[in-house]
């Protein structure tokens, strides 16, 4: 192990330019990945905030008996998807409309707003299908005249989120593959530069595992360094955005460490690839 580590460190000393190049390419691949991740992260945060407002509003028929409404409210509150439900009287509805509309509040003076049951759903049950199921169930009370839940709007929200997730996955994988190829070829150069040494190692009885190890460590170190550099670049970019554009969120510690680990993994896979090919070849 110590021998392998020494050989890996030696590799940096022997080819500093090549090493710097591979760290830089990994850094930029992961930087692109990081930027996208940041966008995805913020979209998700924003969607989460919008989702919090997803609400079902069930309007009651005129002159619905208070006991019936109260009984329905109790039922609805017991639904597994429901976080909370509350009865809104016509007077409260008017108040709310006035508050929301401010200067146009006069319009409502004469209007009679229907009473409603307002339902908030639990975080896991805000997808279109769940919302629709709950709405359907509420509609079965015959004193419920209408159920509104902004169906299209929720549908759109989820589409945006799915597209964002898909695009993130595809782009992320593409970047990761590119990074693997790049580090694979830089390690390959390192392997070729030392092919004589490898041949001699084999003659004196080194196992393939022993020969491979320093290259794997080299690849993992380069990958991790690239990961750290990418993290710094992403962080700097985020700082600029936060200062001049809007308050964007940044990766938490776990995600940041995961990014560095991903860099190390990319380096490891890339070098395992090219060393393996070389060893099989000779």
């Amino acid at each position: 192990m110590t021998v392998a580590l020494r050989e890996a460190v030696n590799a940096f000393r022997r080819a500093p330019m090549l090493s710097a190049l591979s760290v830089t390419t990994i850094a930029f691949s992961l930087f692109a990945f990081g930027l996208f991740g940041l966008v995805a992260l913020n979209i998700r945060d924003a969607l989460g905030r919008i989702e919090d407002r997803v609400e079902i509003r069930a309007f009651l028929a005129d002159r619905t008996p208070v006991e019936a409404a109260a009984a329905a409210l109790g039922d609805i509150q017991a639904f597994p998807e429901v976080a909370s439900a509350s009865l809104v009287t016509p007077a409260q509805a008017l108040d709310r409309a006035r508050q929301e509309l401010g200067e146009f509040s006069d319009v409502f003076d004469a209007a009679i707003l229907p009473a409603s049951i307002d339902v908030k759903l639990k975080p896991g049950s805000r997808d279109p299908a769940s919302v629709r199921t709950v709405a359907q169930r509420i509609r079965t009370y015959d004193f419920i005249e209408d159920v509104r839940f902004g169906e299209e709007w929720i549908e759109k929200l989820y589409q945006i989120r799915n597209v964002a997730t898909l695009a993130g996955t595809v782009l992320g994988l593409t970047f990761a593959i590119v990074a693997v190829i790049i580090i694979g070829s830089t390690i390959r150069m390192a392997v070729l530069a030392r092919s004589r040494e490898i041949a001699i190692m084999r003659v004196v009885g080194a196992t393939d595992g022993f020969i491979r190890r320093p290259f794997l460590i080299e690849g993992a170190i380069k990958g991790a360094l690239g990961g750290v550099a990418a993290l710094l670049l992403t962080w700097a970019t985020n700082e600029v955005i936060v200062r001049y554009v809007f308050a964007a969120a940044f990766f938490n510690l776990r995600l940041s460490l995961l990014g560095i680990l991903a860099g190390a993994l990319i380096g490891l896979v890339g070098s395992a690839f090219s060393v393996g090919r070389h060893l099989k070849h000779v």
């Binding site: 004589r196 001699i200 004196v204």
Partner: protein, 239 residues
């Protein structure tokens, strides 16, 4: 094929070995031979006869197309890729072109072979210095290969080949790049190593060297064994 020296006494055995290279065709045909513990064997024959191929079969750089190569009781038929390293640790291999690492000292070149086999760190330096003394280079440990003569470089390679106390030292024209004096020196060293119990199998073009010594000689021509001065593990016991 009756050979009285089966089992423990034989370190290398070829049985009806045939070797074809994909690109150049037949290199060896129907080679059978046995080399005993502690023997010194010359492998001679014209260029392209198949000497190097025989040696490569011994250290498993090549596999026989047909027949069996048995080295240190490991059969080529049973040899998996991951067994090769272990097999080579029972052998010492020396080439015409020395194959030293140019950017490392003599000590590092020899120590390298010990590191590779996972020898304990503390044991490496004393072992290296003992080996360098054995090959007559005790004072050259911190030299780089390019600062040595050809003969000295070959001695370093021999020291490296000895790190694992090999059963057999395989030498493919070890004196091919050396002048007469250096050749004699390296040959004497190989004889000393042999005298201490290590079998030596040496391919060479140097017929003078072969004639002057009384070692067993195997001659290959066009991939066939055409002459063997004496089979069996003990030399000079003729038939």
């Amino acid at each position: 094929m009756s050979n009285p020296h089966d089992g423990g006494g034989t370190v290398i055995r070829f049985t009806r070995v045939r070797k074809e290279y994909a690109r150049t065709g037949v290199a060896l045909d129907d080679i059978s031979l046995a080399i005993g513990k502690g023997e010194f064997v010359f492998l001679t024959g014209p260029s392209g006869a198949g000497k190097s191929t025989i040696l490569k079969l011994v250290f498993a750089e090549e596999r026989p197309t047909a027949g069996e190569v048995k080295v240190a009781s490991v059969s080529s038929a049973a040899l998996r890729a991951r067994d090769v390293a272990r097999l080579r640790r029972k052998l010492g291999i020396v080439f015409q072109d020395f194959r030293l690492l140019e950017d490392r000292t003599v000590e590092a070149n020899v120590g390298f072979a010990l590191e590779v086999t996972g020898a304990p760190r503390a044991s490496i330096a004393p072992r290296v210095s003992r080996l360098l003394t054995q090959v007559g280079l005790a004072s050259k440990g911190s030299s780089l290969p390019r600062e040595l003569s050809g003969g000295e470089q070959q001695r370093v390679a021999i020291a490296r080949a000895l790190v694992n106390d090999p059963l057999v030292l395989i030498a493919d024209e070890p004196t091919g790049n050396l002048d007469e004096r250096a050749t004699r020196g390296v040959f004497e060293l190989l004889r000393d190593i042999n005298a201490a119990g290590t079998a030596v199998m040496m391919a060479t073009h140097d017929l003078d060297l072969v004639k002057r010594s009384d070692c067993r000689t195997i001659e290959i021509n066009h991939g066939r064994l055409v002459y063997d001065s004496g089979e069996g593990p003990s030399r000079g016991d003729g038939q």
